[in-house]
């Protein structure tokens, strides 16, 4: 009996020793939940290529991602926004040099029912509609029909972009319908003649009609050249220029293969 336990302990110890080289390096990514699906997809592919590298991922929001770089608790901090002046100041006092890497782009398009005659709205009109001030399609050049405002749940990344770029800190009218997913929003807009909603570009299909914003249609090209207004770059921050595994991971993410994965999760490639 005793020798049995002993041999188990020895076995476990040996297994642990054997596992050490297999663990190899660990790469820690923290931050934005918007970047998380991209990071996850790329990390899976990267770990398949390099079984000796372990990547640990966690969310927590953009601020947490940048904070993790400032604290040194992560190798890469994900953020769906640029670093704020206050954070840069904090970084310099700590002797940290945050470097942004633009890894993907996000583009949100407003969508309406396919029979809606409106084709274009300005950002100001979109804001008024979502504040509940414009209530009828007539007011923006459409048919006499009540506008049904459809929004996303407040915790979604898409809502975050919309709130930031269109609502400008003001609140979406409480009577707005909320839908828990991009797909559900398409479904709701497709079956409601007076509806307006917004989705990530990757979810656009034939069932709904995309509107152009300030006369510019949302496409990967207009997003990349910065003409389309409801878009934003997604970042990964590192402390100083990346070296070693971190650099290799970011290079992989920015390679053609990595960018294909970015496209697969519904974001827009940087080139």
């Amino acid at each position: 009996m005793k020798t049995g336990i002993k041999s188990i302990i020895i076995g476990v110890c040996m297994a642990m020793v054997a596992a050490i080289p297999a663990l190899g390096e660990e790469l820690v990514l923290k931050g934005s939940t918007t970047v998380l699906p991209i990071a996850q997809k790329v990390a899976e592919a990267y770990m398949k290529l390099h079984p000796d590298i372990k990547i640990s991922l966690s969310g927590g929001g953009s601020s947490n991602g940048i904070k993790a770089i400032l604290d040194g608790t992560a190798d890469i901090g994900n953020a769906s926004r640029f670093i704020k002046p206050k954070e840069v100041k904090l970084a310099t006092t700590k002797g940290i040099y945050p470097v942004p890497h633009r890894i993907a782009l996000d583009c949100i398009v407003p969508v309406v029912h396919s029979q809606n005659t409106v084709t274009n709205l300005t950002t100001a009109q979109l804001k008024e509609i979502y504040l509940g001030k414009i209530k009828n399609w007539q007011e923006v050049g459409g048919k006499d029909m009540k506008i049904v405002v459809i929004s996303r749940d407040t915790s979604s990344g898409t809502f975050e972009v919309w709130e930031h770029l269109i609502m400008n800190k003001e609140r979406v009218v409480p009577s707005a319908l909320t839908v828990p997913s991009n797909g559900g929003l398409v479904q709701a807009v497709a079956s409601t003649p007076g509806a307006i909603g917004y989705i990530a570009l990757g979810y656009l299909n034939q069932e709904v009609k995309a509107l152009s914003v300030n006369s510019i249609p949302g496409t990967p090209e207009t997003t990349r050249n910065g003409q389309y207004s409801i878009s934003r770059p997604l970042f990964m921050f590192t402390n100083d220029w990346p070296r070693g595994t971190t650099a290799d991971f970011l290079n992989y993410l920015l390679s053609t293969k990595g960018q294909t994965l970015v496209e697969e999760v519904g974001s827009i490639t940087v080139y």
Partner: protein, 296 residues
């Protein structure tokens, strides 16, 4: 000790263990709910939480008022009751008293099978078929609303109400009905004055169990209620009942944040409601229980 007694003891202990395990697990879940929900009251008062009119959990500054959510939950439950109680109870009366035995034998299992319909299927049906239909028929802007959600919830609770009521009506002693007939009462008079009063406690239990199923139902309201956190002005306004809010937001709420605790507190409020519902059901079924044939 004789062998039989030993095995008796073992069986007894085993059953006690199983019972204790399930009760403990449920109790721990309840404890967890309380522990995770209470921290929100450090940020806002109970009154602001329960009677606050705005639910903007991720804005800055955030608002955590769940009053529109509570009202929505009550309204969908109440309106679904308006539809499901008469339909469920009348179907039960038909099956137990009026229908030919052959018909009842076929219809009853079918109704009971309907209780096993997955709620996501009902929700999907409501979203894809009923919503456009309501929207066209009543010429209203949107079909995902209070009315649609109540209708779908009614479909879900009818089988529960019907099958439990039917059991209650069916178990009314034959002697009571025969006595009524002997006094010259018609079939309808017997149902109305004798059978129904005698089975009232069972019917009440059925109704309340059906209603507590409706108030806790998540998938249906998430899919067809529309999800607007406001006090509805009409039957055709979109609403956001409590379970829908929790289900939609929990996945994205940062762990340990105010939003996270607010969702648990919402769950706690919901739990209190269903708990009270079940207490009432329990009270009614014991208070008005038909004891023998003399208490009528």
């Amino acid at each position: 000790m004789p062998k039989q007694q030993t095995s008796e003891k073992i069986v007894q202990r085993a059953f006690m263990g199983v019972a204790l395990f399930s009760i403990t697990a449920l109790f721990l879940i309840m404890l967890f709910l309380v522990l995770e929900g209470v921290p929100i009251f450090k940020e806002i008062s109970l009154k602001e939480f329960v009677f606050g009119l705005y639910w903007y959990p991720t804005s800055d500054p955030a608002d955590f008022g769940i009053f529109p959510l509570i009202v929505a939950s009550f309204l969908v439950t109440f309106l679904s009751g308006v539809v499901s109680i008469p339909l469920g109870v009348m179907t039960a009366i038909y099956l137990a008293e009026i229908a030919p035995v052959r018909t009842a034998e076929i219809v009853k299992p079918v109704v009971e099978l309907m209780a096993s319909m997955p709620s996501v299927v009902i929700g999907f049906f409501g979203m894809v078929v009923v919503a456009p239909f309501i929207q066209r028929t009543f010429d209203i802007p949107v079909g995902l609303n209070l009315f649609n959600a109540s209708l779908m919830l009614a479909f879900m609770s009818i089988p529960t109400i019907c099958s439990i009521s039917e059991d209650a009506i069916f178990s009314v002693p034959q002697a009571l009905k025969e006595a009524s007939f002997a006094l010259g009462a018609t079939h309808f008079e017997t149902i109305h004055r004798v059978t129904l009063p005698a089975s009232l406690s069972g019917i009440c239990t059925a109704v309340i169990l059906g209603m507590s199923r409706a108030i806790g139902e998540t998938m249906v309201v998430l899919m067809v209620a529309g999800g607007a956190a406001m006090l509805p002005g009409s039957l055709f306004d979109p609403v956001r009942p409590m379970p829908a809010s929790i289900a939609a937001e929990m996945a994205e709420a940062p762990f340990g944040s105010e939003h996270y605790h607010a969702l648990f507190a919402t769950g706690l409020v919901l739990f209190i409601f269903t708990f009270v519902f079940n207490l009432i059901a329990d009270y009614i079924s014991s208070r008005y229980r038909q004891v023998g044939e003399a208490s009528l």
